[in-house]
Structure formats: C-alpha cells, structure tokens
Amino acid sequence: VCIHRVRSCSSIRFIKSKYVCVFDKSALKFSHQQRLFRTSAVSCGQIVQFKLSDIGEGITEVTVKEWYIKEGDSVSQFDSICEVQSDKASVTITSRYDGVIRKLHYSIDDIAFVGKPLVDIEIDASKGVAPEEDVVETPPMSHEEHTHQEIKGHKTLATPAVRRLAMENNIKLSEVVGTGKDNRILKEDILNYLAKQTGAILPPSPKAEIVPPLRKTEAVPAAPKDKAHKIPVPVSRPIAFSGKDKTEPVTGFQKAMVKTMSAALKIPHFGYSDEIDLTQLVQLREELKPLAEIRGVRLSFMPFFIKAASLGLLQYPILNASLDENCQNVTYKASHNIGVAMDTEQGLIVPNVKNVQVCSVFDIAVELNRLQSLGSAGQLGTSDLTGGTFTLSNIGTIGGTYAKPVILPPEVAIGALGKIQVLPRFNGKGEVFKAQIMNVSWSADHRIIDGATMAQFSNLWKSYLENPASMLLDLK
C-alpha cells in the first residue's frame, strides 16, 4: 500500500517555488510575531480540467449517476467525486488533486465521455506547497524543528479541514498517526494527538487532590507528602474543539411525537402514584410461564397489568372515556382498547390490544407477542395503532421508578410502570420480609377525572395484582 506520494507535476512545483520565496520574505518580516501566517490562494489558484479516465473494456461513454461533491466544495486527492455507470458496471471516480471544485461538466443522468473534462478543480497553490514543509507555521517550538520539517517534506494525506485544525493547534501532521484509508489523517487523529499532549502536562489521576488531615505523628512525612501531592493547577491550553452543531428537519416518528405531545399539552394533567407489592404475582407468573411456553407464547407481566386495568375500567368507566374538542360531551367507550407503549429503533409507538374486556390473560399475551414482533419489524398497521382508549407504559423494563406520563389524546388517562425492585417491607406480624415492589404513576385529565376516582381505580387495580386470586372472582 503506497503511503508516500511525491507530487511530480512540474507546473505545481513551479508555483510552489514562487510561493516559497514570498513566504520566506514574510517570515523574516513577521518573525517577531507568534501568530500563524496563512494566505488564501483563491485568486492565485490554477484551474485544472480533470478528465474522465479510461474505464477499460473499450468503453467510451458512461452515465453520471451521483455527484458526491458540488461546486465550491473542497476536495483532497483520492476523495470520491462521482459515481458513473456503464453497462452494469458502477465506477467511483476519485480526485487526482487537492483543491476546490469550480465546475461540474455534467448533471445527473447525462452521458459523460472518456477523455473529456468531468470537473474543473482549482488547485489551491498554497496548499500545493504541503504544510508539512512548514513555511507557514510559526510554532512556539525551536527553529531546529522548524527546518527539520522542511527537510522531511513528505506528503501526508489529510483533508484541508484537518490541515487547518492541525495548524490552529500548532501540530505537525508528520507527527500524527493517521488511521484513515491509506494512513490518511482524520480529525479524530488530531484530537487524539491533542488529548495525549494535554495528558502529558496534567497529572494522570485526581487522587493526589485529597490532602490527608495533618496529625502530630505525621507532621514530618506530611511535608514531603505535600510536595508530592500538591493539588495540580490545570494548565489552560486552548484546545480547538471543532465539533459543529447539526440541524436536521423534524420528520417521521419525531414529527408524530411533536404532534401528539403538543395536543396533549391542552389536557390539564394531574398525577397519582402508588406502590404495588407484586410478590404473589411474581410467583404466579413463574408457575404459568412454562404453560404459556408450551403453547408457544412468551408470558410477561404486561398481560396481567392489562387485564387488571380492564377489570378496573369496568368499575370506573370514566377512565376509558373521551372528551370532545369543545369539552361539551364525554363519550364512554365500550371497548377497552388498551395501548402499550413500545420503544422501537425509530422511536415511540403505541399499538393497542383490542377489546381486553373479553380477552383472557393468555389472549392478551398472544396479541402482545404479535404486536411486539410486528413493532420491531416496523410492520404495524394503522388498525393496530389507532382506536386506543387507555394506555400503559412499562418504562420499568428500561429503568426508573416514578414517572410523569403524558396522556395520549383522545384518551383521558395513562399509567407508567416502574421497575420491579426487591425491597424490605413489614408484614402483618411486624416482621421484615422480602417484597417485589413496583411503582405505578398515573396521569389523568383533570377536566373530567377527579383525584378520588383515580385513587379508587388505582386501589382496585392494585388489589387485583397484589392478590391475583381475587381477579378470578371478577374475570369475565
């Protein structure tokens, strides 16, 4: 793999020697300055017509399919310029020069001809000098190093932006290890180099900062200890951070969330939280899991939470209602379509299980499995995602205890379930036992739901889960 490439274009060498003279004079003139001296060579650049090279197999024309650059962009040697296609072959054309693109001779889908100009590149003459040869840099380093670099003079691959970053930080590109293609120096390499340099000046670990309290017996060793463990004063060394803000339009899933949450803002939320002892439910699920597996279904806690919620909604139907736009009418929904918040690669989606009021816990588990696999494959349909009347969000699978969930219009209530933790609790006899505790945080629309209703619903839901056998009495 060739790393070192010596530019052999004679015309460029000519320009280089001209500029070397100019810089030398300026260097003498401004030698007292510690500032970097750069010229922008826009007016002095030479425009080179980069011709489309031979593709092989006797091909004379190709179709331009994609441009990787546009007029005004800077390119480095070996950067990709465009993609052309000829008879089932896709060819990546790379730049032969460093410079700025001044003209694209073709548009997308045009036919380009081998041997004819593809792009015009303005060769940046000052950069043609190759900053390694260092007539531009006035580093705070010794003059010997300065001349050493001129002698070195090998070409290191780096984009103009990277070269600038190096120059701004007084770094010699020849000292940086390049990790890009063909040992090209990337921005990360410069930043790593800087980090190493900074580390060399600052002490490696902060443990020296803790100065032990002086005691009589330690009075003597304290002195040398002080010297060794002096709290270091960080040397402020200006590090150029070249990260840039990135602005993107809000689309797709994010847009959906913006719309939903902006609408939710109109709802006056109130919160109500509680703690549920799931010790018995955990045991029950352990017993039922293998049975469900035999039937080919993965049984989580959610089917129980969902069914218990539906039983609760039968007693407190206002939580399964909807308020119209003008707050004139409340519609009590007959179906309990309980939504389950899911986190996918693209973002938040809330499919719902339809008609939970007539589903068994197993039915719900089957449906959840289906929705989960469709959700992760990105194949949920509109009917799965619409028609929800009440939502549960099991944020606890990721983490957290208490939350403040946002109601999804047109619903009026939502519950967020925290993670199950093993905590000590007191039983009826005053003894401490190990309990499986989960927190629930409800939010409800205070325009039509009052605190008491929410609390009573929550208590009922809690009682079903803390004593799963009681669900049997009310199961429909």
């Binding site: 793999v1 399919k65 070996f78 089932k88 072959a89 896709s90 990546t92 997308i108 797709g252 119209d324």
Partner: protein
C-alpha cells in the same frame, strides 16, 4: 458444503503480523475464498472490504458465496420499480442494494455468487465468464452454455442462468455474477414483479429474462461439484493450488471494520435513500359505501423522502384542514409504510372523534400506504 481445510497456522500468523491488506498471501497469483455466512449484507460487506483493503496487484481473488432469500438491487436502481416490496416484507425476504451497477436479482440458497477481484487494470469480465463456462463444460460437456455480449450466460441458447455486474474503484475492481443452480423460480418471478404503478424514474431498469436452473437440466449436479469445478479452472488459469479458504464475515479480527460495512449496507439511508429521484402519478380507486372515489395522487420522492405531495380529494369528503395536515406531515418524511402509518395514526388522535370521519380517513391512508 465442506471443502478443503484452510492453512490455519500460516494464515493466523499472517494476520498477526500485518493488520491490513495482503495478509492472505499464502499463494502467488490468486486466492479462492468462500463465505461461511448466508447473510447477504455480511457477504456484500466482504466484497466491500476486499475492494477497499486488499492489494490485488500480486494476487487476484475469487470469492464464492450464497445467500438466504434476498432481493439484491443494483447501485442506481429503484426498489419500488424493481420488486414487490409488500411481498418481500410479508415473506421476510431481505432487500439489499449492492455497490455494483446492473439489474435486480433474486438470491436464495439455490444460487451461487462468484466475485472476481482484480486490479483496475486487469478488469476483464468476458475472461471471467468464459472461465465459468469452461468450468461448466469440463464438468458436463453436454451442457449448452455460452456467454452473450451482454455478459449473461445462457443455457440452451434461451435461458439465462447467470447475470453480471461490476464495480470499479480507483485501484481495484470486481466483477460478480450469479449462477442459478436450484433457485425457487416461483418466488423469483413473484418478488421481481413490481405492483407499483405510475412510477417515473431514471433509475437503471432491469431487463427481465426467462431463467432456468442448472439442476433442472442435469439433476446429478450439486453445489460442491459446481464450486469445485469453477475453483479448479480458476486455479489452473492463475497457476495456484486448487484450495478454497473458508472465511467468516463476522470475524472482526480477520476483517477489521467489516461489521461497520455490514451495518451500513442495512441502513435505510443506503437501501432506500440511495434511490435516484423519482415521481409517482397515480389514481387511487377507493370503494366507499356505495360509490367509488377516484383520488389523484402525485408525489416526488428524493433520497427516499417525499419532497412534494399532492392529493386530489373530492371536496368536503374530508374536513379541509385534515387533508392538508396529511400532506404537510408526509412532506419530508420517508417514503415508507412504517413511518407513514405512525404519522397517520397520530393525526387521527388529534382530529375530531367521529366514526364516519375515522373510516374515511383510514380508507384514504390505507390506500396511500399501499403505494409504498
């Protein structure tokens, strides 16, 4: 698919010594490798890796690979134009965009892929295909196979058994081709038929052809026989040992950076986002209650995203604000059923809760999503 063992010791020591290109220089002139993976993205990533990192000056490479069901489109093609994306999603068939040009193909385990890696100067497709034909004829002299000037291999002068594509970079190039042995022709023809109408684009179109499997012609053939025959001919022509080295595309130590390459090939931005700009102009025929509505839809899609969207609905069929909300939401979003479904479901949340309205809305949106 068990082939000769690989020279483990020498190979590993080469890896430890030289982290980049050239570490498989066990033999001069050529190297034959075969992938142990059937994942189309991993295998395409191997091609990228060899193309980017190996020095092909001293030795050329022949790469043998097979994929589990996948549709592979060419670099500059339009997947909506080339295949039935709905069917692909239903059947869980993967969609991949390769970096070489050419047309769309269907891969399954009944298809062999061959990639010939050379330097840019030594790029010569006809020679490679003639090598394959020579190998086939050596194996079964009675096979009527020949190479056309479109770089296809035809069986019995009429059935296509191999299609070709190529990629040329700055210093290296590769030419790959398929070889139909025992592919599922029924699935092939159904997935490669696009149901999408009204598409206008400058993307490279595929040229459909009648296909036939080699095993149909001669049921005594097996993959091993075909691969061995081709490897043998390659070995003879490159004056190397007939020895196939197995490689695992998931091996990051052997192929540093390969998992990133495989990941990139699976991103939406690569598979769909690289589709050349196209437009859709179609008419949705929606049956609603007792009538049929004709809704004209026009969309411009660039980089896989909807740039411009026009939906021509009969007046008052939907509340005026709602349709424009839909258009506004779609503009800038991915031309993708999943994203559209999410947006549509969201818009339904914030509009008046009316069953009639909901069913009309659902009908319109279902039809819009079907375009994707």
């Amino acid at each position: 698919m068990v082939l000769q063992s690989f020279k483990n010791c020498l190979w590993v020591s080469c890896v430890l010594r030289v982290p980049k290109a050239c570490f498989w220089s066990t033999a001069s002139g050529g190297l034959i490798i075969q992938s142990v993976s059937n994942d189309v993205y991993q295998n395409l990533a191997v091609e990228d890796w060899i193309h980017d990192h190996m020095d092909l000056e001293k030795q050329q490479v022949l790469f043998l690979w097979r994929n589990s069901p996948a549709v592979v489109i060419g670099r500059h093609q339009n997947p909506w134009q080339e295949c039935n994306l709905r069917l692909l999603r239903q059947k869980n068939i993967k969609l991949a965009r390769r970096r070489s040009g050419g047309g769309t193909v269907y891969h399954d385990l009944g298809n062999i892929n061959l990639t010939f890696f050379t330097t840019r100067k030594k790029y010569e497709r006809m020679e490679n295909l003639k090598l394959v034909v020579k190998a086939l004829k050596a194996l079964r002299p009675q096979l009527d196979v020949h190479v056309t000037d479109r770089y296809d291999i035809l069986l019995d002068r009429q059935y296509k058994i191999s299609g070709t594509a190529a990629k040329l970079g700055r210093t290296s190039a590769y030419h790959h081709c398929t070889l139909l042995c025992n592919a599922d022709k029924f699935v092939l023809s159904s997935v490669l038929k696009s149901p999408y109408e009204g598409l206008k684009s400058n993307a490279t179109p595929s040229v459909p052809a009648s296909v036939k499997n080699l095993f149909e012609e001669d049921p005594s053939l097996t993959y091993e026989m075909l691969l061995d025959a081709i490897a043998k001919e390659y070995a003879v022509q490159h004056q190397i040992d007939q020895h196939i080295t197995l490689i695992n595309p998931a091996d990051e130590t052997l192929l540093p950076g390969i998992s990133n390459k495989a990941k990139e090939l699976q991103t939406w931005e690569w598979v769909y986002g690289k589709t050349p700009k196209f437009s859709i102009s179609t008419c949705l025929s929606m049956a609603y209650k007792d009538s049929v509505l004709d809704v004209k839809v026009n969309m411009d899609v660039k980089h896989g995203r909807i740039e411009v969207c026009n939906i021509d609905l009969p007046e008052q069929w939907l509340p005026p604000g709602l349709c424009s909300e839909l258009v506004k939401s779609l503009t800038g979003s991915k031309f993708c059923p999943n994203e559209t479904t999410t947006l549509v479901a969201t818009l339904l949340r914030v509009c008046p809760q009316d069953d009639e309205l909901h069913s009309r809305w659902s009908l319109l949106c279902e039809n819009m999503i079907r375009l994707m």
